[in-house]
Symmetry: C3
């Protein structure tokens, strides 16, 4: 593949290929591009996990990282995202990782930019490397997706992964149910049915909690009174009813005491920090994939203009 914007672009074989490669990296495999390779991470929204995870993956692959800070860039002088990306292509960056607050920001880029772009999150849209790391974490635990029941719980409407995870998990043979505040569930998508919170938690192999995306709620949902945890979160009482080998997942950052009782974040069922570790291996696999497609032949070919010096 030469880009990764959404999970829909990947068929089941490609997903399994990436998971396999990521497991290889987790078990100590290494890969380095033959030539000095430059990447840049363009994050237009706050991030610790995803950005650090890409930075780590890039260094493990021996890539050079050209720093980019949206807050001190020419975006401040009114430059568009397209011109910024085109600039980085022109100066020789070999691949870009982009997080942007606008849904499908990549639509305006994909026709005209020739270097690979990996989507690290667009608005309330997609976050394919997060989806892939979730899949890897489940696969490590249960080896197969067939017959598993996964409950996706919480802020489905604003989540970048709820819908694409549900879609991918269904394709891979799992059953998906949704729970949480019914008004945040968009049943018409047909990706899975809504189930009562207690039943969903008690009967699933994977309890996948979603972060309440306060920064995306136009009217702030009031959960300060602890009501959310009791009604829709993973309390200690609900955790006791989970299936024997069931695991807990959360993309983080966690609102402790809201989506999950703070004491459960590091309990033995929790794979929350393992998800983070897996993120590095997934990003290594995705970066390897896109860089292998483009290696060689990029010099001076990344612009539509004639290059007298390169002849």
């Amino acid at each position: 593949m030469k880009k990764l914007f959404t999970m829909n672009e990947l068929n089941v074989t490609e997903i399994e290929g990436i998971l396999h490669e990521a497991e290889g990296f987790a078990n100590g495999s290494s890969w380095h591009p033959k030539l000095q390779t430059m990447v840049a991470n363009l994050f237009f929204e706050p991030s610790t996990r995803t950005k650090s995870s890409f930075e780590m993956a890039e260094r493990k692959l021996g890539l050079e990282v050209i720093p980019f800070d949206a807050g001190t860039s020419s975006i401040l002088k009114g430059e568009t995202l397209y011109d910024t990306v085109k600039t980085l292509e022109a100066i020789g960056v070999n691949a870009l990782i982009i997080r942007h607050e606008q849904d499908h920001y990549f639509d305006e880029l994909k026709e005209k930019i020739r270097i690979p772009i990996i989507n690290a999150g667009d608005g309330c849209g997609n976050h394919p490397t997060q989806s892939l790391l979730d899949l890897l974490t489940i696969k490590q635990e249960f080896d197969s997706f067939k017959g598993l029941k996964i409950a996706i719980i919480g802020d489905v409407r604003h989540s970048r992964v709820a819908k694409s995870n549900a879609e991918a998990l269904t394709r891979l043979g799992a059953e998906v149910v949704f729970s949480g505040p019914p008004e945040w569930f968009d049943g018409e998508k047909g990706l899975g049915r809504y189930q009562d919170i207690d039943e969903a938690i008690a009967t699933s192999d994977v309890v996948m909690l979603l972060r309440i995306q306060h920064e995306r709620h136009s009217e702030k949902y009031n959960h300060a009174n602890g009501d959310y945890l009791e009604r829709f979160g993973l309390t200690k009482k609900r955790e006791k009813n989970m299936k024997q080998d069931a695991i807990i997942m959360h993309p983080a950052p966690i609102n402790r005491g809201v989506e999950i009782d703070s004491d459960l974040v590091e309990c033995s069922r929790s794979r929350i920090f393992k998800q983070m570790e897996n993120g590095v291996f997934i990003r290594m696999a995705v970066l390897k994939n896109v860089l292998e497609q483009t290696e060689g032949g990029m010099n001076h070919e990344n612009c539509d203009q004639k290059w007298s010096i390169a002849r």
Copy 2:
């Protein structure tokens, strides 16, 4: 050379030497310092192109880049530019690249700082590596500057490159004319005459557009109604009247639809993104030049004080 603050410091032979070296890098030459070499990029104003370009050049030369963020530095605690620079010298940085909003910020540094400094833009003053990349782009196209006519169009008053480009191009044998809003043209400098916009564009080999530096205009010039493009910008109609082999240049970031019709930014005459690519090679050449002068013998010698441990 051990520093580069303004184009005036360079004679014609030195300019040609840098262009030659940059062409070598464009064609695949490489150079690395013998010892581990540390540089820092101090950007006190927003930048995408220039900063990324230096970062790229530095990595291609195998330099180590010590990150510096003006927004989280001790400048916030009231530290002066001089003390900040002296600090970086003391901890062992081997060369500095500085952009600062104050004209001639380097005057207070040049006597007392021993490590090389490359000016990446001072106020409305100078931006020598931008001038050099402009020259390289013209040279690649026409091989020689002699007999060429170059039109520099737009916000001459606030441009960092208009005057120094005019001066250097004249020294190299080209003819320079200026155009754009007459009130932004300072005819007394004697660097070139003012010409009507239509004539300037129709008769020049290089149409060099300048960015309107909104952030430097004390009273904001009103161009929102599209008036500027029609009166002083490069419209499609004016482009049709250009000489057959004439090229379009712009330092960017571009105000699309203001200095230039958006559709022309990537037309076959445009060298706008090629300028950006050339910027990397120019900066490699300049960095090589200043680092070669200082290599070896820097350890412990960068302060006026006696160093008992180094004896």
Copy 3:
């Protein structure tokens, strides 16, 4: 050692060991970890010197630095310091350097985080690598601490190093006196007596000035009228009364003309910029120490959870 939060953790032998190692680095020794090693510098307060110094030390040791910008991190989404640190541990960072505005921020981390943490300043509390570089600078000058008299002058109350320096210097055999505004001196700590400013300066081997920490004063101390320099600062007149071989130190950033006459900052007695250079060697020594303790065996062991893939 596997961490460094405060000077109190180090006994005299350990302090001398670090100083010895740092002198080795100053004289050209090198050390590199056997495996690719990742560190991150988490600075939640402005810094030029300490941050750049760690960045320099890390590159000299061949470490990879994962960039972290508090201003664009998930801290903005409400993530706690603990969860941020745990995240960086989970993705494979091998050591953390942290500066945070909260006194003893590390208390909540030290039990549960397994990777080494080096404190780069906590509130008005501690700054052990600054203390160590002060000690190194004194040792280089006088070879031994025994019998030396050190005057610590100024904003003792808000200083991160005044108390720990006094404590360490006393342990190492020096005599410490304090001076400056009496209301900023907390005599009850028993670390040294208060002495009149003129007498303290005239009779000490080391005049260690402290920065007025404006940003930590709840009510801003008014020194704009130059009154502070005359009453409690190092004026040219007081400098003339210093002992023949006495030296001047200041942790910087300097408020020029406040704690010290601006002309004295780079006088022959001043070791202010030498302190900065020493900071790099001290940080190399401390990093080497903590990384040697943890090398090998960190993979997949940094979380409480079972890791199916690592078996």
